[in-house]
Each structure stands twice: as structure tokens, then as C-alpha cells.
Amino acid sequence: MAEGIKDKVAIIGMGCTKFGELWDKGPENLMVEAFQEAIEDAGIEKKDIGAAWCGTCYDEVSVGKSAIPMAATLKLPFIPATRVENFCATGSEALRGACYAVASGAYDICLALGVEKLKDIGYGGLPQNEVQWGTRFRLVFPNLTPPGAFAMMGTRYFAQHGINPQDGKHALARITVKSHRNGAKNPKAHLRREVTIEEVMNAPIVAWPLGLFDCCGVSDGAAAAIVVRADMARKFRPDPVYVKSLQIAASSGEEMAYTEWDYAHVETTARASQRAYREAGIKNPREEISMMEVHDCFSITELVTYEDLGISPRGRAKEDVEAGFFDLDGKLPCQPDGGLKCFGHPIGASGLRMMYEMYKQFQGKAGPRQIKNPRLGLTHNMGGIPPVNVVSVCIVGL
């Protein structure tokens, strides 16, 4: 009988580089920086690591394929190393590999590392994406970019809930303003400037209805985690963070090929979060979760995620947003570190960057962003586009 991984694995060390347009740093430098911080934080040595997972997505503009670049760069001593990739949920996938390996009893200590070097692409945005859909689908995909794929969710969401686009854009702007306010307080964030509702709403359109500030940045970065068997965690530090659940859901294909899906929500988020709550023993996420880092690649994604996670009722996340429910001083702070919005989105690193904030918050090391007495934290990492994607939901706590 499968019993899940609740409280079997703990995080005892984490590292995270500053995210940004790091023109003078290559992905190898970023891996070293995140890794060194993580093992020093954990108080372990390289030789203690049983196995390692490396998450990176756009291998062609970054470190290349396989886990070899990580193993060779970090001089890992001939240990098992695996590269994972699951679009923008890649970072969480690396963490999942490490956590499940420890939970299985195969290893005591594992490393999860995520890295992406996006600013060597040569133009703005993510790399032109035809190739990544494979040789069959790229023949029939439209000329779409991530902003457009998510913008279509905005169009649908507004239509489905009868929201006037200007009111809808106001709620989206409110989400952005909140994240920028948090990001401004975070020295590791890429964008550290507060913005106003007016600035956000008047920004140039990237993909209707999303404007410039509705889109997260594109940046370079790396993050790493050291995970251990829960029963040995306190030998390393007094304040380990325990994994309560780490669930993932991939699209079944029906959202895309069948006509029942409404494009106003992300089905995988709903599925993964329900499983995660069950595993973690959460009955009422709105009341029980203390803080979260969700995949705010675009403001509309964050809006529907509130509903898909079961925090806000369907069609009514807007009310919570406008009421400040997700603000740093609100009932359930979301994106306390500034989110993808302010960190940018070095694909392989983002899932681990989210966890880095949860980890620091639990340890009371979040500085001006510190949330009082958090009990449970949630990270939500989404890869792909709303009709076809993979979502991971991870719940951690003390």
C-alpha cells in the first residue's frame, strides 16, 4: 500500500543565486554558487551526497544535455546524477527526484539543483519554441509564444465570468503590484522596483489582454537543495523544513483534444493540489496554508491558480485579490519573495527558488518579508501552456 512521502524527507540546506540578467556569469558559475551555498548551509561535504538531480530546460542555450555538466562542474565524486526536464516545472522535478530517492530509503542525502541561462539567447523572451513541441506537433502549432498562450486564458476567463476586460485587468494589475512590492524587499530578486496600478494598466500590450507588467521577466539563475531522511535532519540543524507532500499532474490530453475544458482554469493544478492536500492531510487549504509561492509566469496564471488550488471560489479570486488577501500582510501571503514576476524565470531554477523562500521563511530568515509563524507553505510550479502542461504542488512545513 503506497503511503506517500509525508514527513519522510527534510530539507537541511538551500542555495539560491541572485536572479537577473547576469551577463558576466555562465550557467556553470551559477551552479557552483547555488551548490556551495546549499552545502555550506547544510553543513555537509560533497562526499556525503548519495545522488543528484539537475533540472535544466533549454539545454541548447544553457549547459547542454544530461547531468554531466552539473556533475563535472561541481566535481561530484562519481555519484549517480540525472538530468530532469519538465518544461517550466523542471526545478520542482529535480526536487521531486531527490526527495523520492530519499523517501525510498535508497539514499540518506540527495542534491537537487536547477539552473537556467536564458540571457544567452540573443533576443527577448524565451527561445522560439517550435522545436520543443516535437516534429509532429510543430507542423500544426500556431505561431504562439508563452504570453499569448496564457493571454488566451485571460480572454476566456473574462468571457466566462462576465468580467469587463478593464475590471479584469485591474485585478491582474493588483496581483502584479503586490508582487513588485514584495520583490522590492528582496536582494536576490531581478526586478526590485515597486509599481502602481496605473503603470501596470497603461503598460504596452504584449499579448492582449496581458501588458508588459503582466508578464514575468526572463533571467538567469540557479537554486539548489540538500534533502535528507527526516529522522536524521535535526542532526544537521535545529530548523529543518519537512516535506509534507510533493505531487505532480500532467495533462491527460483531454484539455486539448476534447471540448469540455473551459480554458479559464488549469486542470492539472486542481488535480495535483487535491492530491497534495490529501497526502499532507490538509482539509481546508484557505485556512491551513500560511504562505505560498505560485507559478506567476503571467498575472492571469496567478489569478486562476488561486481558484485551482481551492483557495478562492471559482470566478471570485478577483475579490480576494482586491481585498488584499494575498498581500504580504494579508491572510495568505502569496509570492512573498516577489515571485517569477520579480525574479524572472530561469526555467530549471524557478521551482527550487520558490522552495528557497519557503525554507527561509520557516527559519525566520526572510528579513523585511518575514511572515509571522508560518505553519505550512505551498509551492506551485507549472510547465507548458494551459491546454497541455505539467504542474507540481509541494507542501512543506515544520
Partner: protein
Amino acid sequence: MIGITSYGAYIPFYRMNRMTIYGALGWLNPASLLPGEKAVANYDEDSLTMAVAAAMDCLGGIERNKIGGVFFATTTAPYRERQNAGIIATVLDLRPDIRTSDFTASAKAGTGAFISAYDAVTSGSADNVLVCAADCRLGKPAGYLEEVYGDGGAAFLMGDSGVIASVEGTHSVSYDFVDHWRADEDRYNRAWEDRWIRDEGYGRFISEAISGLLRKYKLAPKDFAKVVYPCQYIRAHADIGKNLGFAPNQIQDHMFTATGHTGTAYPLMMLVAALEDAKPGDRILVASYGNGGDALVLQVTEEIQKARDRRGIRKHLASKKDLGSYEKYATFRNILGIDTGGRGEEVASTQMSTLWRERKMVLALCGSKCRRCGTPQYPPQQICANPKCGAVDEMDDYRFADRRGALFTYTSDLLAFSLSPPAIYGFVDFEGGGRWFFDLNDCDLESLSVGMPVELSFRKKYHDVARGIHGYYWKAIPVRA
């Protein structure tokens, strides 16, 4: 009785006033101004896509497996080797045991294909041959031909039952009269002096072909309701008919000031316009011009009454938008060589073996329909996408290309590279079921709304210059009135 059993046409949505060209480049050639406007293919249209559009107009509800051949006439085929008519046959989801041929290298190739189709049906070697003609020629910037040439297509089905206009006779003349030419390595047409072309070629060969036809079949101008022949010079066009003894009301409107000279398709598009107004019993004379010319006699039958629900010429002419700027035209036709930026430079390779395997999915927009639950789905699935069904390998081919749909959601994207930004795309829910996302064209963001009706249009998806590949797929467009 053998002849036309159906007809169709296509004129692209965009028009350009010739004054726009003159405004941009007239300073180089002040004597060049011509009246009216010309039809301009969108950046993702070419002769192949326009021929498909005309063929779709022509075929309507006709069973595709009844078609026994495709003859495609153009001087601007996307491929020199890879038969263009064969691509059209695949796009139209025709059966494989048919005859396909390209006709090219002269503006008279349209009537050449038409007469060849007639001959094929007459001889019994093929039945129900689809003839399509389309052209998208380029005159060099600031030259006279740039104002002359327009873009468009026409299509006919040639058969022996349900004939709406029977072919009663043909006559051809052929001369190596080099008035316009384009060598293997040329993009733009060249021409000799206009006065010589007008007086020694255009003014003579159409008359010679028509006179020869009249003599051969013992007919006189008064026996015809309409005479159809292309216009290269407006006054000379009128003079040809007049000198042959046709009254002005017998001469079919030349559309030169509405579409421009559409090459191989031109006389055939004019014939479609003539058929739109024809009555049973009318005789129509059609002649082409180009290195000589062809002439033929058509006799309209009672069946013409059943063939009125086409977009044809009249509706396509009425459905239009002015392109506005010459620079946009020059960008669409790759005359300018714009800076596409890094994103625009990236073209994924095309695996020919994949394209072959998936030809129905890509070119004919075929998905699948589950035999167990009846769900149409795209792309074709082996395992039914209906979560309540899940049947395995119980699928039939299901063609979405000729179905309308409702726009489920959409966006206009300024990050995506497009030759006509913003890139607009959205999801379409098809009538009868099925959903897929498509680029949208011939529209702007303001004209779109969730739920609005759309139809599909076969378009160029990419041009991979480095690998010599024109890639095609379907786009959604607002339903053209």
C-alpha cells in the same frame, strides 16, 4: 455533354490602390500611373493557397473521392520540383489514384489546363478533373508591371454529368512572342516595350485566336452573350472586342481596375464572373493571351441555376480591405528584406518523413472521429480523447478543413514574430465537435470576439529559405461574406 460542372474563385482580402504604389515610387517613373486597385495576397498566401481557396469554393459539398484529376496552372509555383498540383490534391483530401499535372510558363497556361482537362474527360482517360489556376506575380518596384499585376485564382470542375456550361469547341495559336519573360533565376518579370506588345502581340493574337475559333465553328459575334479575354491595356482591351464586331455590352468586364492582371487565372476568373450572370442558353467565348492564345466556346445549360451558391468573383470582390501602405506590400512580398530579429530568423527543420506520415493531418486538416463515442478530435488520436470513452484504434478519418467553427478564445501577440504583427491566434471549436488552435488572419484584434464564427483557410505557415521549404497549414479567418 462535357464541360464545366462547377466553378469557384478566390480573390485575397487585401487590395491596394494603385495610387499607393505611385505615391511610394511614382517619382521614379512619373508616367506609370494606372487607375483603380489591385488584389494583393496576404503575406501567407501564394498561388498554391489561392488555388486551394478557389478549389474549395468550386467543390463545395462535392464528394472528394469523385475527383479524378487536378490540373494546376500558374507561373508562380512555390516548387519547381515537388508537384504543386499534387500538394493541392493532398490538401483537398482527394484519393490517390488520380492524374495531377502542373501547367506553367505562360499566362495562357490557365486555358491550357482547362482545355487539357476537357480533352482528358473527352478521351475518357479521366473524369471530373479539377482545374485550378492562380498567380501571384511580381513586377519590379517602380516598374509598370508592379501596378499591372494582381493576385487571385479560379477553379473549375470538368466533367460529363451535371454540366453547367459545355465546351463546344477550342482553337489555339502559339507564338514565341517574347513580351514578358522571367528566367529561371529571376524573381521579377521583365518586359519589352509596351507599344510593341500592345500593337504587335496583345492587339493581334487574341483577335487571331477568336477569329480562328469563329471560322472553325461557323459562329459570329452575335451568337455570344459574352466574350471574355484578359486586359493588359484598358483602351486596347475595348478595341479588340470592338474590332471583332462585339458590342460593348457583350464584352465581359475586365476587372483590371479591381484585381489587376492575375496571370494564368485572369481569363478564368473573368469566366467565373460571366457564369455568375449567365442564363441557360447563353454562349460564352473565352480567350487567353500569352505567347499566342487559346479560345473556346462554352454553352450554358439549365444546370447553371443550381450553381449559384459560390463566393465566386462577386462576393470576393465585395469582401475587401485596403492594405494601406506600399511598405506593407513590399514586406509581404519580401521585396524589402526586413530585419526580422533573432526570433524571426529561427525556422525549425521539416522532417519530410514526418510530413509524409502526417500529410492528412497537416495538409488536409484531417483529424479522427471515434467510432465508439462519435467524438471528432484533432490531431488524429489513436486513443480517444473523450475521458469517458478511451477507445483504442477505433478511429475514422475526419476532415475539419471545410467546417466552420466558433472562436473559443484568442489573443494578439506582439512578441511572436510575424510579417504582419501582431500575430493573432486562437482556439476554434468546430461545428459538430472538435477543437484546435490556429493562427488567425485577415482580421484585427478589434474585430474579434469570443464565440464569433470563423472558417479555415489554407495558408503558408513558414518559408525555410535555408532548406528550400515552403511549409503550409491552415489558419482561421472570420467568415468572409
